[in-house]
C-alpha cells in the first residue's frame, strides 16, 4: 500500500480588482515606469551630448535640424586653458587617490583591529570632523595656502583633498577590515609573522577588492570636486571643474562650446560607469 505524499497547500492572496479586470495591466505599468526611469536618467546627459555636436547656429531647438559637427570639440581643445585644466585635474586626482589611500589604510586597520582609548578618540574625531561643512575649513585654507605660498599649486590643493578624505576613507577602510575574519591574521602571528607582516601579507591582500573599488571612486570624486578648486586655485593651476564653472556662470551663452567642454569633463565618469560599474557598486555599498 502506498501513501500519497502530502504537501501543504500554499495559500495565495486572491486576485486583486486590478488583476481581475485588467490582466497584464500591471506589467504594462511596470514597463512604463522602467522606460520613464531610463528617460529621466539619460535625458540630461543625452541633451548635453547632442548640444555638443551641433554647430553654433543649431543649438537652439536642438531636436530640430540635421547639421552635426565636431567643430566644437576642435575649438575647445585648441584652447590651451582647457587642456591644461584637464591635465591638472588628471594629475591631482591620481596623486590625491594614491596618497589618501596610503594614509588611510593604516588608520582604517587600526580602527578595525585595536580597541582602547586611542581608537575610541580617533573614531570620535573622524566622526566629528566628517560633519564639518567643507566651506568652514576651505575658507581659512585660502589664507593658510596663501601664507605658505602654496596657493594655486598642486600641493596647495592636494593636502586639503587628503585631509578631507582622511575622515571618510578611514571609516570605509574600517568597514573593509571589519568584514575580514581576523583569525587568519592570528594564524599568521602564531606561524611567526610579525604584527606588521600579518597586516601586510594577510589583511591587506584580503582587503584589496574593497580598496580597488574605493580608489576608483576616490579618483572620480577628486576629478569631480568643485569647491576646493574654486577657492584654492586660480589662473596658474586651473582645474577642469572650476574652468567649466567659469564658462557657465560668466559667459553663459556659448552653449555648444560649454557642452563640448562638459562632455570632455564627463568622459572619465562615462568610462567608469560603462566599464567599471562592478567596482563602483562595490565601493558605494561599503
Amino acid at each position: 500500500m502506498t501513501v500519497e505524499p502530502f504537501t501543504l497547500p500554499i495559500a495565495r492572496p486572491g486576485p486583486t480588482m486590478f488583476e481581475r479586470f485588467a490582466p497584464g495591466a500591471w506589467r504594462v505599468f511596470i514597463g512604463l515606469v522602467i522606460v520613464a526611469v531610463l528617460m529621466i536618467f539619460i535625458a540630461p546627459v543625452a541633451i548635453l551630448i547632442v548640444t555638443s555636436i551641433r554647430p553654433a547656429s543649431g543649438i537652439y531647438y536642438i531636436w530640430r535640424g540635421t547639421e552635426f559637427t565636431l567643430q566644437n570639440y576642435v575649438e575647445v581643445l585648441q584652447q590651451p586653458q582647457i587642456l591644461h585644466a584637464m591635465f591638472n585635474s588628471f594629475v591631482m586626482a591620481t596623486l590625491a587617490t594614491v596618497v589618501s589611500l596610503g594614509v588611510t589604510v593604516g588608520s582604517g586597520y587600526m580602527l578595525s583591529r585595536f580597541t582602547g582609548r586611542i581608537q575610541k578618540t580617533w573614531f570620535a574625531t573622524i566622526y566629528v570632523f566628517r560633519t564639518v561643512p567643507y566651506i568652514s575649513f576651505v575658507l581659512p585654507l585660502y589664507l593658510v595656502t596663501t601664507n605658505l605660498r602654496i596657493y594655486d599649486t598642486y600641493l596647495g590643493l592636494l593636502l586639503p583633498h587628503i585631509a578631507v578624505h582622511v575622515c571618510f576613507f578611514s571609516w570605509l577602510m574600517k568597514g573593509f577590515f571589519d568584514s575580514i575574519n581576523p583569525s587568519m591574521e592570528h594564524a599568521a602571528l602564531i606561524d611567526g609573522c610579525t604584527r606588521w607582516g600579518a597586516f601586510r601579507r594577510v589583511a591587506l591582500p584580503s582587503a584589496m577588492p574593497g580598496i580597488a573599488a574605493l580608489s576608483i571612486l576616490s579618483w572620480l570624486w577628486t576629478w569631480n570636486e568643485f569647491l576646493f578648486a574654486l577657492i584654492l586655485t586660480g589662473q596658474r593651476t586651473p582645474m577642469i571643474t572650476s574652468t567649466m564653472a567659469q564658462f557657465v556662470t560668466e559667459t553663459g551663452t556659448e552653449w555648444n562650446l560649454m557642452s563640448a567642454t562638459a562632455v570632455l569633463a564627463m568622459l572619465p565618469a562615462l568610462l567608469v560607469t560603462i566599464f567599471g560599474q562592478k567596482y563602483v557598486i562595490r565601493g558605494l555599498r561599503m
Binding site: 522602467i34 536618467f41 539619460i42 531636436w63 594614509v103 588611510t104 586639503p160 569647491l227 552653449w255
Partner: protein, 284 residues
C-alpha cells in the same frame, strides 16, 4: 598602533583642524582693505551674520529645507527604484548601469545639464512643457521654481545612491520571513510594510544620517544653477559664506558664517548620531 594613525592624524590636524582655528581667529578681525593691521573687533562679524535678514530668513530656512526635502525625496525614489530593480525583468542590467551615471558625473556638470535643459528660451524641457500646454514658468528667474530645480538636481544625483545601497541590503535579506508571509497569504503591501521595511531599517537609517550631513554643505549645484539668485533668494549656507568672503570681499563675515555653520552642524551631527543609536537599539 599610534604609528598607523599618525600620517592620517597629521594631515587632518594640519589641513582641517588648524585651519578651522585660523578661520575662527580671522572671524574676529576686521578685513577691510584699508585696514592692513586687521584689528581685533571681537564678535562684531557674528552679530552681523546673526542680524543679517538674508542669513536668518533666507539662508537658514533654505539650507534646512534643501536638506530635508532632498533626503526625503531621494530616499523615497531610491527605495522605489530598489524595489523595482529587485525583481528580474528584461533590460535590468541596462537600468542598473544607467542609474550609476548621476553618481559618477560631477555635480557641476549635472547642474550645467539641468540649467541648459531648463533654459528659459531654448531649453529642451522648457520647450517640451510649453508644447504640452503647461503655463510658462520662470525656471531660473523666480525663487520657488529655481529652488525646486535645485532640489530636483539633488534628488537626481542622490536617489541612485540610496537605490544601490538598499538594493544590496534587499538582496542580502534572509528568505524565510518572505516564505512564511507567502504561506500566510500576506498581500504585497503588508509584506512590504511588515517585513521588508523593518529589516531594511538599519541600512536606511545610516544612509539618511550620512546624506543629511552631506546635504547641509551642498554648494556645487546651487552655485552653478542659480548662483544663489535671483537676488540671493536661493542661497544656502555654503554659498552664503562663499559670497560674503569672495564676492563681497568681507572675509571676516564669511569666516564667521562658516564657523556658525560648522557649529550648527556639530550640534545636528551629534544629535543625529544619538538618534541613530537609539533607533538602532529599538530595531534590534
Amino acid at each position: 598602533m599610534l604609528l598607523l594613525v599618525a600620517p592620517a592624524a597629521l594631515v587632518l590636524v594640519c589641513f582641517q583642524i588648524i585651519p578651522i582655528f585660523i578661520g575662527m581667529n580671522a572671524s574676529f578681525r576686521d578685513w577691510s582693505l584699508v585696514n592692513p593691521a586687521k584689528t581685533w573687533i571681537g564678535l562684531k562679524h557674528y552679530r552681523d551674520v546673526l542680524s543679517d535678514p538674508v542669513f536668518l530668513y533666507t539662508v537658514l530656512p533654505n539650507t534646512f529645507m534643501l536638506m530635508v526635502s532632498s533626503v526625503v525625496l531621494s530616499l523615497a525614489s531610491g527605495l522605489g527604484l530598489a524595489l523595482l530593480l529587485n525583481k528580474p525583468f528584461f533590460g535590468r542590467p541596462v537600468v542598473r548601469t544607467v542609474i550609476l551615471l548621476p553618481l559618477t558625473v560631477a555635480p557641476v556638470i549635472t547642474a550645467t545639464m539641468i540649467r541648459w535643459s531648463f533654459n528659459d528660451q531654448f531649453g529642451v524641457i522648457t520647450n517640451l512643457l510649453s508644447v504640452l500646454g503647461f503655463p510658462e514658468i520662470g525656471w531660473l528667474s523666480d525663487k520657488w521654481p529655481s529652488f525646486s530645480l535645485i532640489i530636483l538636481t539633488d534628488v537626481w544625483i542622490w536617489a541612485p545612491w540610496f537605490t544601490i545601497i538598499i538594493l544590496a541590503a534587499l538582496q542580502g535579506l534572509p528568505r524565510e520571513p518572505f516564505e512564511a508571509a507567502q504561506i500566510d497569504a500576506s498581500g504585497k503591501w503588508r509584506t512590504f510594510t511588515h517585513i521588508t521595511l523593518p529589516m531594511l531599517k538599519p541600512v536606511i537609517i545610516v544612509c539618511v544620517l550620512i546624506r543629511s550631513i552631506d546635504a547641509f554643505r551642498t554648494f556645487d549645484q546651487v552655485w552653478i544653477l542659480t548662483g544663489g539668485g535671483p537676488a540671493r533668494e536661493t542661497e544656502v549656507f555654503s554659498v552664503y559664506a562663499y559670497v560674503e568672503a569672495f564676492v563681497h570681499l568681507d572675509y571676516g563675515k564669511g569666516a564667521a558664517a562658516a564657523g556658525l555653520g560648522a557649529l550648527i552642524m556639530l550640534v545636528v551631527g551629534i544629535g543625529l548620531y544619538k538618534l541613530v543609536n537609539r533607533l538602532m537599539e529599538v530595531s534590534r
